[in-house]
């Protein structure tokens, strides 16, 4: 994980939560190219901790992770009132038909099934982070 940003850092901050290093690296690169500051977490517990200590503009949440999965982490984040408005996008390999409603019911703002087209993620991020 990264240290907290300095007060002068005006970039939007995204928390990328995924237990796979390569997926985090891929998303980090993608977001950094678009001017985001990126923080990483490897599981749901780390994600909750980051959400409480960092000022986040967006969370990209993998669904299947060890220790605490993405949906359970989302439910916990949503239960904290001050964290309620952070947009959370769930990401997983499950088909959207089966899984989107479940992700939304857990408190995610949107769901993206992998592999996804960059333009899909771009559109969602633009809509959620204004």
């Amino acid at each position: 994980m990264e240290p907290p940003s300095s007060a002068s850092d005006s970039r939007r901050t995204v928390l990328v939560v995924d237990d796979f290093d390569d997926t985090r690296l891929l998303l980090r690169t993608w977001f950094e190219r678009r001017g985001f500051r990126v923080i990483e977490a490897e599981n749901g517990l780390q994600a909750i901790n980051c959400a409480q200590t960092e000022s986040l503009d967006l969370i990209i949440m993998d669904v299947q992770m060890p220790q605490l999965d993405g949906l359970a982490a989302t439910r916990q984040i949503r239960s904290v009132k001050k964290l309620g408005s952070i947009p959370i996008v769930a990401v997983s390999a499950y088909g959207a038909d089966q899984f989107r409603e479940l992700a939304l019911a857990a408190g995610c703002n949107e769901y993206v099934s992998t592999p996804f087209e960059p333009s899909t993620l771009e559109g969602i991020v633009r809509a959620l982070v204004q």
Binding site: R78, G84, S85, E101, G107, E110, G123, I124, A127
Partner: protein
């Protein structure tokens, strides 16, 4: 005897099948999208409404760009989004709106554990009455119930401890599927054309040792050793690299 039996057989069959036919006909939902009532459970949303009309109901709604197929999805989250009036959406956890060509084609409402009806059978009855859909419910993907009406489908299921409702324009699914297929065919044709073009373009084989190249299908008299073999895409590329055309290829 047999002849008499044959004569009455059609009448007998009709007598047996009549109740089944009547029951089957009465199980058909005849409700249409255009005449769906503005049920309180739909919170003012209706299939076919435009993005601007949705914005009038939910000014905070944000729509991403439409995708390749003309689809844009957005969600409204009264549970945790401070920009949404929670009182207006009492008992609702989240609402998902799918638009095709800027028209609402799928509406999903996830109710929470405080919604006045929690039992799925009672919820089905509530929806049947509210939407005036008079057909028979059938199993949907082993986790819910569905009813197909004239041009749309209603699906109810229990999700995350509360009932949920989806109202879906069935023709929109067909449209998206057709567009997806068309794009796949176009992509496939484009890929084939690229491969064909690459195959038609002759490669320029060259010999690093002799610094000569063999254009337009001209072959060296003797096979070039693998270590000395180099391929150029164009004659210009070979010339630029300092290679000369082989004498027997003029």
């Amino acid at each position: 005897m047999l002849t008499r039996f044959r004569a009455v057989l059609p009448a007998l069959l009709l007598l047996i099948l009549y109740p089944v036919m009547v029951q089957s006909l009465s199980a058909q939902c005849t409700q249409k999208i255009a005449t769906l009532p503005a049920a309180p459970e739909l919170f003012g949303f209706r299939l076919g409404m435009t993005k601007d009309e949705i914005k009038q109901i939910v000014p905070a709604a944000v729509f991403p760009r439409t995708d390749h197929f003309g689809v844009a999805k957005t969600t409204i989250n009264p549970h945790f989004d401070p920009k949404i009036d929670q009182k207006k959406y009492e008992g609702v956890r989240s609402i998902s709106l799918d638009l095709l060509d800027d028209r609402l084609v799928s509406l999903w409402i996830g109710f929470d554990e405080n919604f006045r009806v929690q039992n799925i059978d009672e919820f089905m009855k509530l929806i049947s009455d509210s939407l005036k859909v008079n057909g028979r419910w059938s199993s949907w993907r082993s986790r819910g119930q569905q009813m197909r009406c004239d041009g749309f489908q209603v699906i109810v299921a229990t999700l995350a401890g509360g009932p949920s409702l989806r109202v879906l324009d069935m023709s929109a699914e067909d449209t998206v599927a057709a567009r997806r297929q068309e794009k796949e065919e176009q992509d496939s044709l484009a890929a084939a054309a690229t491969t064909e073009a690459a195959e038609l373009t002759p490669e320029i084989v060259a010999d690093k040792q002799t610094k000569t190249y063999y254009p337009n299908g001209c072959h060296p008299a003797k096979e070039i050793a693998e270590a000395n073999r180099i391929i150029f895409k164009t004659v210009e590329e070979a010339e630029k690299a300092g290679f000369k055309v082989a004498k027997n290829c003029h």
